[in-house]
């Protein structure tokens, strides 16, 4: 495997995939690796992955700091989930933790060292109003006072406008499904909740197949691939831990087969089989990989045209063209007219 690793996201992918490969890094290589890992919010995951391996003392110290930071992030994320649990307990409706908080609450490998920002939860659509009232009563507040944004979220998005807690300054995203209502694909939100699994404290997590499907949906049917390396690391770890049994049938049920297959293929390309020997990657797959790894050794976003193309694509996936035009026009004017 004498493949030359470029100074871009592949450097990080290689270190995560094959930790022993860092033995060949010089000081410059280490600096680039740590910088890219930080920029992709994967430094905590990397720090756990490389723990105990021989490495320069200064790199070991930086990674030890990253592990400490992730440990503290874990405490805060679990506390935030507990705060939401208490605020919503009296409603008696299922509250499903999503993404990073779910991984750490369930003790999954994908949660080890993972950075966690907002708290994401999923609740039944018909309980959305009650959940919103309960959160506001418990001192969460609106972040976006803009009436157009607010109305847009409520009519078309898969989540409430983000709420932030007055004292703890942490955001909560309350989802009622996993894709915007404007997208062509409509996942079965009721099934996500029906098949969710209870944790000891009464909060719930998605079933393993749905967890993977959510990661894929977020990445390929909604987002512009920002944070994609971390997202695919989640996918890779989940597949390693639970395999893919039942995942593709379930994805088909949600209408997310294409996204799910792509997520598994690209996660393997980045983190399991970087030479692509076992994988049949299409041209489009390679374009995705080129976009996902668009980060230089200074942590800068590179390949701007490719980034822009994927950004536009994400909007086209999110809503029909005419609606997109109207949305962009309204945003550009800064106006607050009818949706």
């Amino acid at each position: 495997m004498d493949r030359v690793v470029k100074t871009d996201g592949w450097l990080l992918a290689r270190a995560l995939c094959d930790p022993a490969s860092v033995a060949t890094l010089d000081a410059n290589g280490w600096t680039s690796l740590l910088t890219i890992a930080r920029a992709e919010q994967l430094i905590g995951s990397l720090a756990h992955r490389l723990e105990g391996l021989p490495m320069p003392e200064s790199a070991a110290r930086i990674l030890a700091d990253a592990r400490g930071s992730a440990a503290q992030g874990r405490v805060l994320a679990l506390w935030e989930a507990e705060m939401a649990r208490r605020a919503l307990a009296s409603l008696g409706c299922p509250v499903v933790l999503l993404k990073g908080t779910a991984f750490i609450a369930a003790g999954l490998a994908a949660g080890v060292g993972r950075s966690i920002g907002d708290l994401d939860i999923l609740v039944p659509t018909d309980r959305l109003d009650a959940v919103e009232r309960a959160l506001i009563a418990a001192n969460w507040e609106w972040v976006k006072p803009d009436p157009y944004d607010d109305a847009y979220y409520r009519r078309w998005m898969h989540e409430l406008p983000p709420l932030i807690h007055r004292d703890r300054d942490r955001m909560i995203d309350v989802h009622h499904t996993i894709l915007p209502l404007t997208a062509r694909i409509t996942p079965d939100a009721a099934a996500l909740i029906a098949d969710s699994v209870a944790l000891e404290n009464g909060l719930r997590i998605l079933s393993h197949p749905d967890m993977l499907i959510h990661a894929a949906a977020h990445l390929f049917a909604d987002g512009d691939l920002a944070g994609g390396m971390r997202n695919l690391w989640d996918v890779h770890r989940l597949v390693e831990e639970f395999g893919t049994e039942g995942v593709f049938d379930r994805a088909a049920h949600h209408g997310l087969s294409v996204a799910m297959h792509r997520a598994v293929r690209l996660a393997a390309a980045l983190y399991a089989d970087p030479d692509g020997v076992q994988l049949r990657l299409s041209r489009l797959d390679r374009l995705y990989l080129h976009r996902l790894t668009a980060r230089d050794g200074w942590g800068r976003a590179v390949r701007p045209l490719l980034r822009q193309a994927f950004y536009m694509r994400s909007h086209l996936l999110r809503m029909p063209p005419l609606m997109l035009a109207r949305h962009l026009w309204t945003k550009w004017r800064g106006g607050h007219h009818a949706i």
């Binding site: 280490w30 600096t31 920029a39 320069p56 503290q72």
Partner: protein, 286 residues
């Protein structure tokens, strides 16, 4: 990046990259006696870049970037590129440092023991630290006290001393042989000139010191010294720390240990002479 430099201040390594030669040349001159990061692997990156590609040349303005950024940071004119670099390094520390509890304070050392001076902007932290250094104290830093949560020791972070407005003249008069950077006029923080820490401060920057006294200086009042109760010290230190919350329990332990173990005094002073007298008096009384 096109122009780069690496340096180490106390235990912290920085890699600085810039679209322009001038800020890097200034850093190389002023930090010429500072070593490289340990193992040439920097803890933090700083980037100075043009807001738009053409702004490298036309009315060049410097954006601050790095591993950690504040979204609302405003660009500075290229003439203030050195200030941009200093601000960016401070920002990486304030937002990214997790090994040490940071307290926004200046620190000087004598006989292996550290005097920590903290207060709001304008209280005279940097000025007093520079003046004490001119009188034989070792300068450990004018921006952050680095508290090691494991040992309780203060680590030195002797970056360039940032002197503002009237303090520039006070300190340059007291240190005729001091090395100073260019005068940066009319920055967002007023006039700024940097003082290079003396050879001793740089040579000894890997030696930590045990904290011995905590001062809250207050410039512009008749001379007075008062005790500060533990509760007030605790609250003021949490406010003066940039990473107290992010450090979690380790931060709490380090901070409460400081509150419990060293005396804290507030001093009011009308001029630096009065402050020097108060400091010497308190230090001999320890």
């Amino acid at each position: 990046m096109k122009h780069t430099h690496q340096l180490r201040i106390g235990p912290v390594g920085f890699r600085i990259g810039s679209d322009w030669a001038a800020p890097i040349a200034q850093l190389k001159t002023l930090y010429r006696d500072y070593p490289s990061p340990h193992g040439d692997i920097a803890d933090f990156n700083v980037r100075l870049f043009a807001t738009r590609p053409w702004r490298r040349l036309v009315r060049p303005s410097v954006m601050i970037g790095g591993d950690y950024i504040l979204p609302e940071a405003a660009p500075l004119p290229l003439a203030q590129g050195l200030l941009a670099a200093e601000m960016a390094m401070n920002l990486q520390m304030a937002l990214g440092q997790r090994r040490y509890l940071l307290i926004h304070a200046s620190v000087v050392e004598r006989d292996g023991r550290a005097l920590i001076m903290t207060g709001e902007s304008g209280a005279g932290k940097s000025t007093l630290a520079a003046m004490l250094a001119a009188r034989g104290w070792r300068l450990m830093g004018d921006e952050f006290a680095l508290v090691d949560p494991t040992t309780g020791l203060i680590h030195a972070f002797p970056r360039l001393v940032s002197l503002k407005n009237k303090a520039i003249h006070v300190v340059s008069a007291a240190m005729p042989k001091g090395r100073f950077g260019p005068l940066l006029a009319a920055t967002p923080k007023g006039d700024i000139q940097h003082l290079v820490p003396d050879a001793r401060a740089i040579a000894a920057m890997d030696q930590p010191a045990m904290p011995a006294l905590l001062l809250f200086p207050n410039f512009g009042f008749a001379p007075a010294i008062r005790d500060v109760g533990a509760g007030e010290v605790f609250v003021r230190l949490t406010q003066a720390s940039t990473n107290y919350v992010a450090m979690g329990e380790r931060g709490f332990t380090a901070l409460t240990r400081l509150v419990r173990e060293i005396p804290a005094k507030a001093i009011d002073y009308p001029d630096t002479g009065a402050a020097m007298t108060a400091v010497e008096q308190l230090w001999t009384g320890l």
